[in-house]
Each structure stands twice: as C-alpha cells, then as structure tokens.
C-alpha cells in the first residue's frame, strides 16, 4: 500500500461560518473561514466539536467537500436521532463559530499525479469526498477521465446535482435511484449490483483507480464486485460510514 506520511499535531481552531447552503431537505454545505487551515488533500476529512452551555462537548468527523485551495467546506447530512448533525443542519447559521481540527486521513485521497481513469462510486452522502476529488481534478486542469456512479434513494436526495451536470469535463455521471424514480426516469434503478457495475465501470484492463464511499452495505457490495471484475484490491479505496445512529 502507499505510504505517504501525513503527520503532525492536530490542534482545535475556531472557524467562522461564512455560509450554510441547503443542498437537499436533509443536507447542507457549510463554508468556513479559518485563518490557519494547514491545507488538505482531496478525499480527507476533518473533526467538528460542539460545546453545550453546560460545557458538554461532542465531536464528529465529516468529509471535506471543497478542493485543496478553495474556501474550506463540509457537506453534512442530518441523521435521525443524531446529536451533532441535526445541530449542523438545522441550527447553524452564517456568522456562527465552529470548532474544528484536521485534516484527517490520507489513504482515501487522489492527486492528479495518481492518474486514472477514475471510477467514483457514491452511496448517498458518500458523494462528498468524491466531489472534493472532482473539484480538485477540475481546478488542476487534469484530463484524467472519470465515471461517477451515484446511488441515491430518490432524485430530490441527490446532492450537487447541478454542479455534476454542468461543471466538469471528461466526466460521465450515472445515477441509480433505489427507492423511487421521477416520471420518465431513464437512469438506473435499484441497488448497486454486478450487472450495473459491469455496465458502468471502466474495464479492469484500463487500470482504473476506484474510490468508493457510502454506507457499509453499499461499499461492501461495490468493492467485492469490482474485485470480481478484475480490479486489484489495492486499486479500490473505500471509506464507509456505518449505521451508527451517532452523527
């Protein structure tokens, strides 16, 4: 496996929230102004800390949605019964302060020099770190071709829809909607499976790099099927968020 050291102490800093943009009914993008952000690589995450008026603190990790060099942003999905995500998606406003530290991680990252072609597989809000990779690729002027397969419950649940439609060159986006489809839907339906991946994924002979992010069942299925299609396991990077009920 690659061994790119990312070391150094992570310290908590207070960021100013510059905007909170609603992406879907349950998802917001929070843009942050942070004077001392050390920079990040596309695909990394950061840690957010909230403090209650009685001093209680809770911390959670969120994927970074912005590319390196852009104003720092995270995209957060509200999870029912969660402690931190309902605050971030419902209470937080522009002008508020938010404590955070990072960046965290260093394996689930892509740099233009890593090449491609890229196969990006997103389950729900798992699209967030993949969007950072796409923005980084775009800003760097990389012509590495990319396929994004995005699995969402319904069309209104799709995050970054306009941007994915318009902003990127050399990108093919395929959607599969697992719960319901709008009238006249011509995309894929149902959960990700071998037949769908065989149709959408680059052939293994193209030596693609695959990045998969989503809930555990999505990632388990997608990663296993790609290995079945001949992708070497070390070329399949995964990031998962389990149904912890905790965010």
């Amino acid at each position: 496996m690659e061994r790119t050291a990312v070391r150094g102490r992570l310290t908590w800093q207070t960021a100013a929230v510059t905007s909170v943009t609603r992406e879907t009914a349950s998802v917001v993008t929070i843009q942050l102004d942070l004077p001392d952000w050390p920079g990040h690589r596309a695909g990394q995450h950061l840690e957010v800390r909230l403090t209650a008026d009685d001093g209680y603190q809770a911390e959670r990790e969120y994927s970074i949605a912005s590319a390196p060099g852009e104003p720092l942003a995270i995209t957060v999905e509200r999870l029912e019964g969660g402690e931190v995500s309902p605050y971030l998606t419902e209470e937080l406003r522009a002008g508020d302060e938010l404590e955070l530290r990072g960046p965290i991680g260093g394996y689930f990252v892509w740099e233009p020099g890593d090449g491609g072609p890229l196969l990006l597989l997103a389950g729900g809000s798992g699209v967030v770190p993949l969007r950072s990779i796409l923005r980084h690729r775009h800003r760097a002027g990389s012509d590495v071709p990319a396929h994004l397969l995005y699995s969402a419950r319904t069309w209104p649940d799709v995050i970054y829809c306009d941007e994915l439609d318009k902003d990127y060159d050399h990108l093919q986006v395929s959607y599969t909607l697992t719960r319901s489809q709008p009238p006249g839907w011509t995309g894929y339906t149902g959960r990700i499976n071998q037949a769908l991946l065989a149709e959408v994924a680059w052939p293994a002979e193209a030596r693609p790099l695959a990045y998969i992010c989503g809930p555990t069942s999505f990632v388990e299925t997608a990663a296993a099927e790609l290995v079945g299609l001949g992708y070497p396991p070390e070329k399949v990077k995964t990031e998962r968020f389990g149904a912890t009920g905790g965010h």
């Binding site: 800390r49 605050y87 009920g245």
Partner: protein, 202 residues
C-alpha cells in the same frame, strides 16, 4: 475556551450506571459499524495461516486446523472506535496471544500485526500479552463475519479498535516501534481511548 454552540444539547448519554465504562468523547452504539480502507479479503481457510515472524523469517506458523486446535477462551469486553462509537459487552471467542507467543522464544518490545489486504498496526508486546489480547474467530456465539475481520481478528480491547486488526495473519516481532497503516497517516502510535490518543500528538 471553546465557543458555546447555541442551542446544542447533550442527547447521547451513556446508559445509566455505565457512565464510567465510556471513555471521554465516545458515545454508545448498539450497532456494529464497519470501517476499512479497501475491499474485504476472502482467504480460503485451507490457505489461511497464522505466523509469528521476525526479521523476514517465519518463527512459527499454524494452519487453520492447528490454530483451531489451540485452547480457546470467551471474553466479554467493551470496544472503542476512534470514530467515537463504543460498544459495550461484546462477546468474542479466540486464542490468547499468550498461547501463540509462548511457543516462540522472544525478547522484543514491539509487534507489528499484519493482515490480508496489506493492513498493519504496531503494538507494544506488553499490550498483547498477560491475557490482554486474543486472536478471535467467533463473535456473539457465531463465526466472525468477514466484514468484521473474519476468519480471524486481533482483539486488543483496551486500545482504540483500529489496533484490533481485521483479517489478521500474524505478528512480526520488532526491536523498534514503527508506525503501521493508520499510524503512518497520522493516527496515534499507541491509541489509549481513556487518554483520547486519537491522532499523532494527542
């Protein structure tokens, strides 16, 4: 001084009477989340071995049959993931790491656990001996499922759970403390959940 997050309230309280079992910054979950960096490997049991290695040499190796013929124990422990979930009273079956290391003469301060898929994690040998660690093959009365690290997973419950390496295939005896997989990417070299040793420098 941390700014107060207006309207934020403490919702995830530890179960009554179990507050002192939950390390700082953790919350209790009933689920069993899965985190890993790549596809789940599936090594057939007839090709599976567990090895104690040192300096590129195999000092001792067990086939699956030999491994499963070793004395086993069942433990009930709390586990703590660096991503902030803790799970209380998990039940595991496995072979004590003492049972394995006792069959090799050794005098080293560290081990590097190595795994299918290339994952590694470093541990002081004193943290995997004296009854503190198992190589597990069973979870909750059944076999350990592959997505949770089966057929065999290291279990070192007093450290953050990334030290409990999934799909473990052996321990490499080391003179020096070198970073494993996540440690190379900035996670803490030791990982004590009670001291919140999540990342380098914590």
């Amino acid at each position: 001084m941390s700014p107060v997050s207006r309207g934020f309230r403490h919702l995830h309280r530890a179960p009554a009477g179990q507050e002192d079992r939950v390390p700082p910054g953790q919350y209790v979950t009933d689920g069993f989340p899965v985190l890993s960096a790549g596809p789940t490997p599936h090594t057939p049991l007839e090709r599976w071995t567990f090895s104690i290695t040192q300096g590129g040499q195999t000092r001792k190796s067990w086939t699956w049959q030999e491994f499963r013929a070793l004395p086993t124990e069942t433990v009930t422990v709390d586990i703590h993931c660096v991503t902030r979930w803790s799970k209380l009273d998990t039940v595991w079956q496995g072979v004590s790491v003492d049972t394995l290391l006792d069959q090799v003469e050794h005098d080293v301060p560290y081990v590097m656990a190595f795994c299918d898929g290339g994952y590694t994690t470093n541990l002081p040998i004193q943290d995997v001996t004296s009854g503190q660690a198992l190589v597990t093959f069973g979870y909750d009365d059944g076999p350990l499922e592959s997505e949770h690290g089966g057929p065999a997973r290291l279990l070192v419950p007093h450290l953050y759970f990334w030290k409990s390496a999934k799909w473990v295939r052996g321990l490499d005896l080391r003179d020096h403390n070198e970073p494993g997989f996540w440690e190379t990417y900035g996670y803490h070299m030791y990982g004590d959940p009670w001291k919140e040793q999540r990342y380098a420098g914590d």
